[in-house]
């Protein structure tokens, strides 16, 4: 479901990204163009070092392009200040990380509540959001568990609950099943499919697992910083 630029949620326009290491300039992305509509579910595939995580970071507002434009939810991320970007991320982006990145000293409940403390919600409203999010991921009975008391699959589900608690516009997932066994990975992918289909969440997922990518509505491949085969449609997915 590629979008027209006018109604796209994510617009990546001729984006390049270079990293400097000492005196070396390492080009990572070379003129990327990509659009993503609301409620889309995009899998970004490619070998290690192809630039997929870099592209995801640019779309999530964690980094800025060297040239070109990244416009997400109507905001040109390349020209926003650091503090504006932080606020923007808290309002629009839900993050799912490969290693879950839960705060080890906080309980599942507190981890999910963390991004909500950046909103103006009252304590009671926050409580409703947290419980609803943990209900969606099936962990209502693990509110007071610390991350070390949960399995990897459960930790990732808490991480997903944290990502959806603020009802973000876009969910970005970087190898969400990369650290999980096949069964737990399958459950996470099923959960993400539900988020997209039942809760109409727009998702971009970086993965190098073809099985995980096949759950997305659309797959794009990156190779050496260039997008190839941007219209691939996964087998069995609705285009």
């Amino acid at each position: 479901m590629a979008a027209n630029q006018s109604d796209a949620l994510v617009v990546v326009n001729n984006v390049t990204k270079e990293f400097r290491r000492d005196s070396f300039v390492i080009p990572v992305l070379l003129g990327i163009n990509l659009q993503l509509a609301r409620q889309d579910y995009l899998a970004l595939m490619g070998p290690s070092g192809s630039g997929k995580s870099t592209l995801l970071n640019l779309i999530a507002g964690l980094d800025r392009p060297t040239s070109g434009e990244v416009i997400v939810c109507g905001t040109n991320l390349g020209v926003s200040s650091e503090s504006k970007l932080a606020r923007w991320r808290s309002q629009h982006i839900g993050f799912i990380f490969q290693l879950y990145n839960l705060i080890p000293v906080l309980t599942a409940y507190e981890n999910v509540e963390l991004p909500l403390t950046l909103t103006r919600l009252t304590r009671r409203q926050r409580d409703e959001h947290v419980r609803a999010a943990l209900e969606v991921v099936g962990l209502s009975d693990r509110l007071d568990h610390y991350p070390r008391q949960l399995s990897g699959g459960q930790e990732q589900r808490v991480s997903i609950a944290r990502a959806i608690a603020t009802d973000p516009t876009l969910i970005v997932a970087d190898e969400p099943t990369g650290d999980l066994d096949a069964k737990s990975g399958g459950e996470i992918l099923e959960l993400m499919r539900r988020l997209n289909e039942e809760f109409h969440k727009t998702i971009i997922m970086v993965t190098h697992d073809p099985n995980a990518a096949s759950r997305a509505k659309r797959i794009v491949h990156l190779e050496k910083g260039v997008l190839v085969n941007t219209n691939a449609t996964p087998v069995g997915a609705t285009a």
Partner: protein, 387 residues
């Protein structure tokens, strides 16, 4: 803001480093508060010793009572000057006193040190309204008796009630303990003026005249008259001023306190910084995550500063609490103006403890600042890649 629970739980999880840092900063605060408590104790002892209307008259050029000599004739003339208060029975509130120094052994084989013995007439006690006998009785005149304070009895041999102190081979019996509101008088031994000058074989000798003026104007006029009039040419200072001039010992201790406090705070800052650097390094990915989900640089900076301040404040509180058992404990130091010992009590008042708390806060803030800045300077994507 990142919830403070996050910091508190992290401190609990890393409890070994937390305890070590708390102990280190606590020790620093304890040591510094102790020196401040010392200097405050001395200052208190000297400050409360003076009544604003009381004047000490000494030989011109004398720095202390112990180095002053005045003739009996001059003393009589001073006591007859107008402007001096009267006692209830109409006597001028004017005390001629003889002050001498004895070298006497300390208790517990602590060597010898100088002790001030003051010979007074009964009217001298009226000039010290806080003077009261708290154990035993007051001296009788002409029978070689002495009274002193409990703290002096603890510090010197032969000063317990019933014991005898030798002055020029004449035994003076200790008959009572007095209190004088914690003032410098509590560092002295008091006896009858004539008994003391008799024992010292300088009958009729007078060191100082101490009087109370009727009011401030009279006091100032009398001081001027005693200093300038040809027949006197004496040194006359208010008691308050006299004891202020003796505070050099406390200023020296206070200076050492600030010096030690400064150095130790600097050292403890490194301990706090080290702990916080370790915290930042081990939590790089957490910091990246917090910033990714929307916490600003300022929030992260504040969070790590708060954690550092909590750490050092715990130490500060511990250090201050550890000084409290010593509150009121009496000790002594040399009074360089009189070349004798002054006894005083440690005083850990609100301002002394506040300085300890301020030290802890400074330690926490400065110690945490650089690690916190490192935390916020890390690029989010680099932090997220940390193991």
């Amino acid at each position: 803001m990142i919830p403070v629970t996050y910091n508190l739980r992290n401190l609990r999880v890393r409890w070994v480093t937390t305890v070590m840092t708390v102990l280190a900063s606590g020790l620093v605060v304890w040591a510094t508060v102790l020196t401040f408590g010392l200097s405050d104790g001395i200052q208190h002892a000297l400050r409360i010793s003076g009544d604003p209307l009381d004047v000490i008259v000494m030989r011109k050029g004398a720095d202390a009572e112990t180095s002053s000599v005045i003739t009996a004739q001059t003393a009589r003339e001073v006591s007859n000057l107008p402007g001096i208060s009267k006692s209830p029975d109409g006597q001028p509130l004017c005390s001629t006193e003889f002050v001498t120094i004895l070298t006497k052994p300390r208790r517990n084989a602590g060597g010898t040190t100088n002790m001030i013995v003051r010979g007074v007439k009964p009217i001298g006690k009226l000039l010290r309204p806080q003077f009261r006998i708290v154990e035993g009785r007051d001296i009788q005149l002409g029978v070689n008796e002495i009274v002193t304070s409990r703290s002096m009895a603890k510090r010197f041999e032969n000063l317990a009630i019933g014991e005898e102190l030798e002055i020029n081979k004449i035994a003076f019996k200790v008959v009572g303990f007095f209190e004088a509101g914690g003032s410098a008088a509590e560092s002295e031994v008091w006896t009858d003026l004539n008994d003391l000058t008799g024992a010292r074989r300088i009958q009729g000798a007078i060191s100082i005249v101490n009087f109370r003026a009727t009011d401030v104007n009279s006091r100032n006029r009398l001081i001027q008259q005693l200093q300038e009039e040809e027949r006197f040419k004496l040194k006359a200072v208010t008691e308050v001023r006299y004891f202020e001039d003796q505070m050099s010992a406390s200023y020296a201790i206070q200076f050492v306190g600030y010096l030690i406090g400064g150095f130790l705070t600097f050292g403890a800052m490194f301990a706090a910084a080290n702990t916080m650097y370790a915290a930042v390094a081990s939590r790089a990915r957490e910091i990246g995550t917090l910033r990714a989900i929307g916490f600003s640089r300022t929030s992260v900076l504040a969070s790590f500063l708060i954690e550092s301040v909590i750490l050092c404040s715990l130490g500060g509180a511990l250090g201050c609490l550890a000084t409290l058992p010593l509150n009121g404990l009496s000790t002594g130091t040399a009074n360089w103006a009189t070349f004798s010992e002054i006894t005083f009590s440690f005083r850990f008042g609100p301002w002394v403890l506040a300085r300890g708390v301020i030290m802890a806060l400074v330690m926490g803030l400065l110690g945490g600042l650089f690690p916190a800045m490192r935390a916020v300077r890390m690029k989010i994507i680099d932090s997220l890649r940390q193991a």
